[in-house]
Structure formats: structure tokens, C-alpha cells
Symmetry: C2
């Protein structure tokens, strides 16, 4: 083996870090809490971004770009918003360095203090709604459907590669509507876009739901979310879509004249997913040999490794591989021929396993004679001998099958990991056992939610959409409840 | 006319701002020196980015992402580099806000001071080379060919939309090589990529050259550039490619073991273009009616406006337009059917002229009878009646013709704007007259260069590649010179 990976059973957190670092996805940086996204990780993010971007455009959104900096006073305009973000933000106070006249090297120039501090955006509602005031005058300017791909900074104290970093990449949609109904429909539509992306591209099944009030986005009326389940039984919030009501319109005085020529405040949504999704992807599918990536977003879908002795065998393989490559590329498959002769086939096999390349084709001189190739699928770690006749067609089918079966496997795991608990003892036992989502009654108060969290480290992940109504009693207080909500320990 | 545009002859700077603001490309923001890139402007940037990104990947580069923040001490490691950027940078000093205990609202929490200040990246050589130290060990790790799409911040005091903003979007390539020759070849290759992009996509002719030492990038051994010419006779640096020698490798101690197993410092390049290119695009082509965009990167290439009375005429037009749209879309043309009945055709014509849409098709009920459409090309402001038979084929040819003729027009202007001056009086007269590039002898000293700048506001834009060698005398000092260099006033 080229690189040692910690087993999940041994140390799950270390296994995850090994995959990120040794799989070539990201690296630590010299800046506290910030990471470097390496080329392989960035290629994965580009594939994810491109799919999402297409979906946003298909649903009528346009991209734009707003400033990185937010004046401090803007954050304060929406009371809950500032409470949510003020405690962990990067503050720019000066605009110049100078040589220390006392010989202390390069220092901040005290003369270059900003009149008002600027916050590096933790999210852009405030700067965007301040701009929308100029853009929205009439109902004819609505809906305004804008998305931004950007970096944001939240000064997290405990960071983990991809899952929680001080700086991360994301997209944030910010839309403006004439009515509450339209804004809610947009919120739900974008949640569906996220769920579709998670399930049909990342092969990660999700539960769609609504957050409890205490887990809402700071400044939202309602936060919708998709919740994914990791292999260790912990949940991960994979995307959120917020109905913001008129909160930001009121904070930034954004009104429009309606069809009756009366001024009304505008209704808002915002929604986002981030590079955190890469963490979800890794933990949903990967194994002790390395990453397992779903074909639809894998940077490399197929790798071909030649096995030969001497130039003559190599030339014969090259010729045949060229045909296969051409056919696969024509079908839009991302394929690489690794004929680097500095590494042995066995080393390459391990390396591509680690990198999670969905399909590996090994082709030797004898295979050519027999008109076959050895085809290994990463997800199931199985190999089969396939005829070279219409190999590309078979590979394309195989990629489809891998995509589907990765989803099905994760879906089975998810379904088996939603457990009902009717008492606090059951609840605790499930969390300490197989974990996963625990469906339990809750009395609807923030106090109980907080207490359960203190006692068990589990939080309410969401109240699922179309949740069955059912009489029951809160597992902690015994007070009456009308539906179960999903609890879990979470990333 | 829907929106009034200042004429170039009246106030060139105001004309430019009118186009940016009223053409819907960008807007001012509440943050000093930062702008909002509006959806139409961002769509233009996306088209430019996609072409460049493809070219980078075709030349073997991969994208990655490095932290937004640079520790203050990193900037100081390369002496010239810190001199170049320390005077205009955004400095993060704190990581938390708090409620003022004295009731002064939200203030910076003095307890949350960073141990070391962080600089918002003005460019990323330092943080990247600090990372490369871990990535590069052997000659087998080279070349390392990485690009990053990112936002950067330079605290400019005098800003102008797109041309000079405190925050801007760009790409920065950072490559590492085993030899100086390879690094220089990379520098020149990327200059060629930029020149090809400027000329064949933006339709903006450029002069390729090398900067004089005083105009070099801070930390570079040589800065190569492409220089474009605006309609007012001022030059604009449209892209730079730097040979960095071993400067950053030495500053960050990045060594590799060569094939002889000896440790050597790595050779570096960096190269970038930014949203500034949008400013160049606007000023190279546009006119008093609005933007003129080259088809290859225009967000919208063709707009179709129906002219009708009543539902029946509209239905007939709709049916015919659908066929044309389908054909154009199939050919990859970005086309829009504007049948919004809230606006009159005349208003729409003016609006699309302002937005610089290359081709406008007007189709009326009588046109249908006559089997023709009125086709207007934005660049030459001409109209012609084209047969509906194979209209899409004719439009595709027309788009090609517009692309070519926009370049040819700009190229003619550029060629007519390179003037030789042999005395300082001639030099001054040209600058005060038609301006443009002035090819003049220079004694090669930074003092003379500075003096000429003080006297005339003209700078040395570049020493053209493959510059003819010619004996002459410096226009200022009369000292001997072996070649003419290109001076101009510049953005």
C-alpha cells in the first residue's frame, strides 16, 4: 500500500482526516482554521458547483457578485442577525502597514485606521438587502432571483477540514418577492433543488425538514434544511433554505409599489450550500481503503492502467487504449490513461482506490489476446473480466450502476438508522448504540430542546416535511406532543 | 431613448460610467471602493472566465484554492513584495464584536485581538509558496501548474468601476519549475494565452512586451504584459505574466532534489487577469449609444423583437420565432425572444443597443408575408433585410463577421495610434494630440523614466517582444539607446 489509512473502527475522526489529506483533497494552511483546497478536491467542488449552477439557472436565477466587506453598522440592523454572527467574525480595522520606526519590522500603521470597521462577510444578507433598496421600486422589479458564489468567513474556534473551517466556499441565493406565498414557494423549491442534487448527484439520501426555532438561521422566519447521515451515525446539515419574511426588507427599508400602487415591504429568501458538502460526501460513502466517489461528480470516472513488459507490448496496448479513450471521451466520460512507468500497477491500483476513482480498467498483453479487460468497481471492490467488444458501452452502464447502487446502499443505511424512541432511556440507548436519527416526541419548547442537548449532545435536526401527526408525550417532560421530530448527534 | 448616455466627446469618463451603470454591468456599493457586479456584468465575466479556464486546463493547469488571509509576517519575507503591497491592504486585527458595555452599540471586542494581524490577500504568492514548501520535494513533483480564481483586495484610494476597485475578481496562476528556462517558457506561454484571449475573444488587439524594471511586479525578475489601447488614446494593461526567478522559493525555503539528488531552489512564475478586463472591453469598442460587445463573450448574442398588432399576428410570429430560436440554440447561440408586451419595440431597440447585444432581429407580421426579417448589427449600426430561409445560418455567419470586424476596426485604430517620436517636443505633442502609444528612445534609467512621467504623465507601457534594434538617442537626455520603447498615458 502506498499510503496508510486509519480504519474507521479504530478512529473515525482520524480516518476522515487521512482521507482528506492523503486522498489529496485538502491540506492545512498556515492560517488558523483556513484550509487549502488541493487540485483534486477543487475539481470535485467544480463538478458539484457546475451541476448546482445549472440547476439555479434552470430555475431562473442569475449570478452576481457583492462586496467581501460588510460595514459593521449593517450587521447590527437586524437584531437576531448580529447576535448570530458578531461573536465569530473577522474584523478589518486598518488599511495600511508601515515599517516600525522603532525597528520592529512591518506593523499596522496607526494612522490608517478605518472610520468604520468592516466585517469579512459571514453571509451577505445585509450588504445585499442594502443594495436591493436601490434595485427594487415596483412590483415589476420582482421577483429578483440572484445567486452568488463566494468565500465567507466565520471565526470558528474548533475547525475540521471541509466540515468547519474559518473560511469556506459556498453559494448564497438571495431572492426578493412581492408576496409571502411566493417567497415560501421559492424557499421550498430551492430545498428541493438541494435534495435532488444530494440524492441524484452525490448519492447521499437526505431528510427534508424544518428547523426548530432555536436552530433557525439568525434573522429567518423559517429555516428549511436537508439532513444527511454519516456512516458513524451522526447527522450532517447539508443545505439550508430560509424564508426571511420581511425582516431584512424592514431592516434595510426595501419597499415596492404593488399593483395597487401601495408601498409594501419586500419578502425575502436566502439559501446556501458550501464546501462542507465535500465532508458529507466523504463520510457517507468512503471505506478503509480510501475515498469512494459517485461517478456523476467524481473528478476522474475511469482510469486505465496498462500492464506490460517491453516496448512492443506497450505499443499494442497504447493503440487499443486510444480507441477506448476516444469512445469514452466522446460519451463525456472523464477518463485517464496512466502509463507513467515510474510506478508499478499495484501501487497505482492502491492510489486510485484511495482517490475513489469509480472504475479502474487494467489491460495487459494477454488480455489483448483474449479480447478482455479486467474492470474493477471501487464501490463494491469487485472485479470482472469484460469483453473488449463495446467496452465503452459497458463502462458507461457500469458507471450508471455504481451511481445507483451507491445511493441505494446509503439509502438502506439511512432507513435502518431512523429509530423511534418513546422514553428518554430508549432515546439515550439508541444514541449510545447505533446512533442515527431518533424520532421522538418533544414538547415544543426551547428549554426542553436545550436540556436534551446538554444531557445527550443530540439536537433536533429537523421536523420532517409532511411529518405524520401522532399523539404522544415528550420524552423528557412527558408533556403532550403532536408529532415526532428527528434528533441526532451531528457534525 | 430609454436612458441618456453622455457622449464620448463631451465627457469620456462620464460616458464610461454611464455605460457601466446604465448598461447594467455594475453598481456602486456601500463599501468604499468596492462595487457590485450586476447579473449582466457577471454573465459577461462568466463567459470570459470560462474561456480562460478552458485554456488554462488545455495547457495543463489545475485549479486550487488558497486562504483569503495572509499572515502579516509572510508579506515581509520577500522584501520588494512587502514594499509593493503593504501600503494599501486591508488588515484584520480582531475576531469578534461585542455589545458596548457603555451602550455604544456593537463594537470591536478588545479581548479578541489576533496575535498576528492577517492581511486580506492582495495577491497570493506568499501564502502559496509557503504551502509549496510542503508539496515540492523532488524533481518528480515539478512542474507544479496551479491556478486560482479568487477575490483580492488592494486598498486603492482612487477607484473606478472595473478599472480600479478595492476588491476585484481575478485568476492568479502560480507555477513551480525545475529550471529557469522552463519557468520563462511558462511565463511566455501564459502571455500568449492572454494575448490570444484578448484578441480572438474580446476582439481587443494588444501589444506583447516586457515591463521596465520600475513597472515590474513587486518580487518579479521580469514582468511580461499585454497592453491594450482605449478609444481615448490611453493604454490599459490587460494582463501580466511574471517570471519570479527563485525569489519566492528563497523567501519561503522551497527546495527540490534534482535528478542528481542535489537540493536546488525552485523557479517560479505567476500570472493574472482580472475583472479590469471588462473595463478594457467597454472602452475598446463601445459608442455613444451604449455597449458594443463581441459575440464570442456577449451574455446575449441575438435578441428577437416581435412587432405585431393583436393576438393573431402574435401567434403567427411566435410560431415562426420558435423555429429560429431552436435552430440558433442548437448551434449554441445565446438568443432571447423579447415578447414582453409592457414595452414598445422602439424602447426595446434602444435598451438592447445600450446593452451591446450584437444582433437584433425585428420581425413583424408583414415581414412574415414577405419571408424576411430586419436584422440590425450593433457594431456598425446597420440594418438589412434577410430572407427567413436559413435565417439561422445567416445569423451565425453574421456573428462571425461582427467578431472579426470588431477586431479589425480596433486593430486599425491601434496601428494608427503607434507613433514614433524622436524629440521630446514631438513626444509631448503626440500625447497632447491624438495620444496613443509613442515609440521613443529612452536611455534605460529609472530616473529618466520617472522624469518623463512627471513631465507628461506618460509611462513606459512595455518594451515590445521582438523589438527591432535601432540606434537612437533618448528623447529626454539624448543619451544613446538601442531600441524604442512604447510610452503612453494609461489607466
Amino acid at each position: 500500500m502506498s499510503k496508510e489509512i486509519t480504519a474507521r473502527s479504530q478512529d473515525y475522526a482520524k480516518w476522515y482526516n487521512d482521507l482528506v489529506l492523503k486522498g489529496g483533497l485538502a491540506d492545512y494552511s498556515a492560517v488558523r482554521g483556513c484550509m487549502v483546497i488541493k487540485p483534486y478536491g477543487f475539481a470535485l467542488w467544480e463538478n458539484m458547483r457546475d451541476v448546482l449552477d445549472r440547476k439555479f439557472k434552470e430555475t431562473g436565477h442569475q449570478n452576481a457578485y457583492f462586496p467581501l466587506f460588510i460595514p459593521k453598522s449593517f450587521l447590527s440592523k437586524e437584531a437576531e442577525h448580529v447576535d448570530g454572527f458578531a461573536k465569530e467574525c473577522a474584523v478589518v480595522t486598518h488599511h495600511r502597514l508601515m515599517n516600525d520606526p522603532n525597528g520592529g519590522g512591518v506593523v499596522v500603521d496607526p494612522e490608517a485606521k478605518l472610520e468604520e470597521e468592516l466585517i469579512v462577510r459571514p453571509t451577505s444578507e445585509t450588504i445585499i438587502w442594502n443594495t436591493y433598496r436601490d434595485w427594487i421600486k415596483s412590483h415589476r422589479d420582482l421577483p429578483l432571483l440572484i445567486n452568488q458564489w463566494a468565500n465567507v468567513v466565520r471565526w470558528e474556534m474548533r475547525t475540521r477540514l471541509f466540515l468547519r473551517t474559518a473560511e469556506f466556499l459556498w453559494q448564497e441565493g438571495h431572492t426578493a418577492h412581492a408576496t409571502a406565498e411566493e417567497a415560501i414557494a421559492e424557499t421550498v423549491q430551492m430545498l428541493d433543488v438541494y435534495a435532488d442534487f444530494a440524492e441524484n448527484f452525490m448519492a447521499v439520501p437526505v431528510v427534508k425538514g424544518v428547523k426548530s426555532p432555536s436552530e433557525r438561521f439568525a434573522g429567518a422566519v423559517d429555516t428549511y434544511c436537508i439532513e444527511a447521515l454519516m456512516q458513524d451515525g451522526k447527522a450532517l446539515q447539508a443545505g439550508t433554505s430560509h424564508f426571511l419574511g420581511q425582516n431584512f426588507a424592514k431592516a434595510f427599508d426595501v419597499k415596492f409599489s404593488n399593483k395597487e400602487n401601495k408601498l409594501e415591504y419586500v419578502w425575502a429568501t436566502s439559501w446556501g450550500v458550501s464546501t462542507r458538502l465535500i465532508g458529507a460526501l466523504i463520510m457517507a460513502h468512503s471505506d478503509d481503503e480510501g475515498l469512494v466517489l459517485p461517478p456523476k461528480i467524481a473528478p476522474l470516472q475511469v482510469v486505465i492502467v496498462p500492464i506490460y513488459k517491453g516496448e512492443e507490448q506497450k505499443a499494442a496496448l497504447d493503440a487499443r487504449v486510444q480507441v477506448i479513450m476516444d469512445e469514452l471521451k466522446k460519451a463525456g466520460i472523464r477518463v485517464k490513461y496512466d502509463d507513467n512507468d515510474n510506478a508499478r500497477p499495484g501501487w497505482k491500483f492502491a492510489e486510485y482506490e484511495l482517490q475513489g476513482v469509480p472504475v479502474r480498467i487494467a489491460l495487459g498483453a494477454r488480455d489483448l489476446e483474449n479480447n478482455v479487460a479486467e474492470v474493477a468497481r471501487r464501490d463494491k471492490k469487485t472485479k470482472e473480466s469484460l469483453s473488449l467488444d463495446n467496452l465503452s458501452g459497458q463502462i458507461i452502464d457500469l458507471l450508471d450502476d455504481i451511481q445507483t447502487s451507491m445511493f441505494n446502499k446509503a439509502k438502506e443505511f439511512q432507513q435502518a438508522s431512523i429509530t423511534k424512541a418513546d422514553t428518554f432511556e430508549e432515546f439515550q440507548a439508541i444514541l449510545d448504540g447505533k446512533a442515527g436519527f431518533v424520532a421522538a416526541h418533544w414538547d415544543g419548547t426551547a428549554e426542553t430542546e436545550e436540556k436534551i442537548k446538554e444531557l445527550t449532545k443530540a439536537t433536533i435536526r429537523c421536523i420532517p416535511l409532511n411529518n405524520p401527526q401522532e399523539e404522544g408525550k415528550c420524552i423528557l417532560t412527558g408533556k403532550p406532543s403532536k408529532e415526532r421530530v428527528l434528533f441526532a448527534r451531528a457534525y
